[in-house]
């Protein structure tokens, strides 16, 4: 099994036992007609496709199933190996790849949160940083759901000198009329939006809020590994 196959196994292992993960992977590889010893990235989509039926059987919780599949899909679109495989390619620009989670229902808040944590874990972040990322994602996702109704959370890794995670929360909701007031702590909403945004800001390394009343809000946060 090469490193790319190892990455896929590592994702499966997060949700399934070692023997189950291995047997799912080897049988999917057989059906996809790929060899795990020399697995190449372009072959991942077909392998992941063959993993689908097995995952449906073994992962009965819809949320976990969805998360597992999202992580697998993410591996497929990546050109660079993930941590802790090889030294990252020297590239200052971050990649446009990542996971997008539409926020339409309350359940999506939990999903976004879980994916944020999974991704932070996959990147080798410490437990505390993982928790901070997940909490920040949860706050942003909840704000979308409660204030705008629908929107989107995008989570992607930042490669380069400082490894990290970027989360962009975007909606076309009512916007925030006085963001400075909200962030100052003087404002308290019924649902605690002030607390959520202020808390998020404290948890991350970079925080940008772009809001236009009547048009929507975009929050971009970054958290670095160290």
């Amino acid at each position: 099994m090469n490193e790319i196959a190892g990455e896929i196994l590592a994702i499966l292992r997060r949700y399934l036992s070692e023997p189950t993960s291995r047997s799912l992977l080897t049988s999917a590889a057989r059906r996809a007609n790929v060899r795990l010893e020399v697995l190449a990235r372009p072959e991942i989509p077909q392998l992941v496709q063959q993993l689908g039926p097995g995952l449906n059987i073994f992962l009965q919780e819809p949320e976990k199933l969805q998360n597992c599949k999202s992580l697998l899909a993410l591996v497929a679109v990546e050109n660079a190996p993930s941590i802790p495989m090889e030294p990252p390619q020297q590239q200052a620009e971050s990649r446009p790849d990542g996971i997008s989670v539409p926020i339409r229902a309350e359940h999506d808040v939990v999903r976004a949160r879980t994916l944020g944590k999974d991704m932070a874990k996959q990147l080798g972040f410490s437990e505390v940083v993982q928790t901070k990322v997940a909490t920040a994602v949860s706050e942003l996702a909840r704000n979308i759901f409660q204030y705008a109704g629908t929107g989107e959370i995008r989570i992607r890794r930042i490669e380069g000198k400082r490894r990290g995670i970027e989360v962009v929360a975007r909606d076309q909701g009512p916007g925030i009329s006085d963001p400075a007031l909200i962030l100052s702590g003087a404002y308290r909403s019924k649902w605690g939006m002030g607390a959520g945004l202020r808390g998020t800001k404290r948890l991350v390394d970079e925080f940008e809020l772009d809001t236009h009343p009547g048009l929507g809000t975009t929050v971009r946060i970054r958290k670095y590994a160290e």
Partner: protein, 142 residues
């Protein structure tokens, strides 16, 4: 295949006069709201002397959920059921502190065992009223 889950429900266990709620799942707002109602109903039955909320299985607590847990504890207390929240993971505790969100007015313990002993040590009457007046301080800090 398993049945499709409706709104998930967190079980409330009764053990020698105490209610024990052990949360071992990712909390959605609906689940936590439901839990509040269930705990209120359980307290209303009147035979419980204490409530323990074990959060050891919770890996993320955001502001809304933290507030809900805190409200739950305060509510139970108002109904005469002393509450201890326990099992907060270190990473979760650190995150809450960083966000400026502690659990004002809520007794906490390291784990379930200690939470139960703490409840036992509390006198059924004449409780120290150390929680009074803190109820409105949530989010108060800048």
């Amino acid at each position: 295949m398993v049945m499709m889950m409706e709104t998930q429900r967190i079980p409330i266990v009764r053990l020698s006069g105490k209610l024990i709620v052990s949360i071992q799942t990712a909390l959605s707002d609906t689940v936590v709201d439901r839990l509040q109602q269930d705990v209120a109903a359980a307290c209303e039955r009147g035979d419980a002397r204490g409530l323990v909320v074990d959060l050891s299985g919770v890996d993320v607590l955001d502001s809304y959920i933290t507030r809900s847990i805190r409200d739950l504890a305060v509510m139970a207390r108002l109904m005469g059921v002393e509450t201890v929240v326990c099992g907060l993971r270190p990473a979760v505790a650190m995150t809450l502190v960083e966000m400026g969100m502690e659990l004002p007015g809520v007794r906490t313990a390291l784990n379930l065992d200690r939470a139960l002993s703490l409840l036992d040590s509390l006198q059924p009457e004449g409780l120290p009223n150390d929680l009074a007046g803190e109820g409105d301080e949530w989010e108060g800090e800048a």
